[in-house]
Amino acid sequence: MKRLLAICFSVPLTILFIVVFACGCKTDPSKAGKKKVAVIVSTLNNPWFVVLAQTAAAQAQSLGYEAKIFDSQNNTSLEADNFENAIASGFDAILFNPTDADGSVTNVLKAKAAGVPVFCMDREVNSTEAATSQILSDNYSGCVALGKYFVQQLNKKGNYVEILGLVGDNNTWNRSKGFHSVVDVYPGLKMLAQQSADFDRNKAMEVMESLLQAHPDINAVFCGNDAMASGAYQALVAAGKAGDVKVFGFDGAEDVINSIRDKKISATGMQFPKVMAQTAANYADSFFKGKKDFPKKMPVAVELVTQENVKEYIGYGKKDNAQK
């Protein structure tokens, strides 16, 4: 009798459990409608990263997904919160621009553990196992091209200084190594000083001012990004040496493209934030459709912009595709 009663209770309970569980699955927001893509960006204070984040979100939306931008404000702990929110809110993929090559690895691994693929854009994390793929500017090769142009412009001899970006950032050293892989071949080119200005325009101006005082015989300055190139140029103008010292930058920022056009700055390396952002969103789309074998690191070509070819470029890209 007891056995019969047990069966009478357990069968309907099991059915009820299955029904409730099935309904629960249907109401899971991440599975209900469109898939959701989170765009977690290091900062929205710099227009370059705004372009990167907005393009990634727009591309994800154009592919039929919901997209939301999270600003980490260059703060690793805020970035960790953004990851936790994105994972808890049921986002299906993360398009990620890290704040710190080492510090961001944990966040990417958390997402991976939760089954959420992460596609890095522009900046890398120091792990080949964490992100599904990393789409990065080919900083090294871009600076090889820039270094070759630098040597040609100085006719293989002269004194120069280098202003580095953040010393803890991989891009800083990839750019510097690419540049030196060419310039160091020519013994007539002498580096008088190498100093960091943290990718910051004002700091670069101060650094350049002090370098000019210590080394009045400088022929050129190579800067790790365009903001610092603008700052260095400003210092040269103030010192009355703008016409004597050639300035080289990296990024393809709008004001530097204008300065190259006005023959104030010699050259820069043009990065393509839109190409990186679109590729990251396209990779997420392919992932949802079943593709799993992505290149761990995909370099995006950096193009040399000089006073000879500047007419083909605008800030952050080429005239044709930058307006897309």
Partner: protein, 211 residues
Amino acid sequence: MKAIKYIIIVFIVAFIAYNSVYFKKLDEVKASLSQKEFNAPQYAAAFWNNKLIPNLDKAIDLTKLKTMLSSDPAKTFDVYSHALGIGNLRYFLIRGKGIIESVNENDVTVMLNVDSSKQTVTLATEYIFGNAVRDASGLININEFTNTMDFNNVSAEINKIIREKVLPSFKQSVKKGDVVEFTGAIELNKEHLDLSHVEIVPVQIGMSNEK
């Protein structure tokens, strides 16, 4: 008898125990691990000898390529160009023949042996940098590399081979009027194609004085 039996057992146990545990210096272990690190000069030499040189016959004739690029650039880029990354910069493995028009400080100007159009190209002899030769053949797969710096170093090592093995004898003997046959790599921008300044990074150069 029992004593002998115990001695044999103890000996066997001692032998097994001794061979089960190994002690190595930490320095030696670290050194052996570092030997497994990517060796760019070795990779570049193997690529040069075993992949690139045996496949040079796949290089496309430069004058033919220029004609195709003028008529159908998109298709020509799709079929003949390669690059490890994405973007507008693409690389072609090319070959050609021409007459040396001038020998300059950093390059050599070559008049291609074609019709009356008198096309000239330059053979780089000084600035051998970049990814043209690494990428042009399409024989290297980016998934072979987990580290960005590894494939950057491969380019640097390939360019070193060109500077040290291909160019010295050519630079020493080249003069205006020589007939030159070359195989090499070129970089072209897919978005803004400029065929008026084609620079070849040479892989093989053959010369004769017959015109």
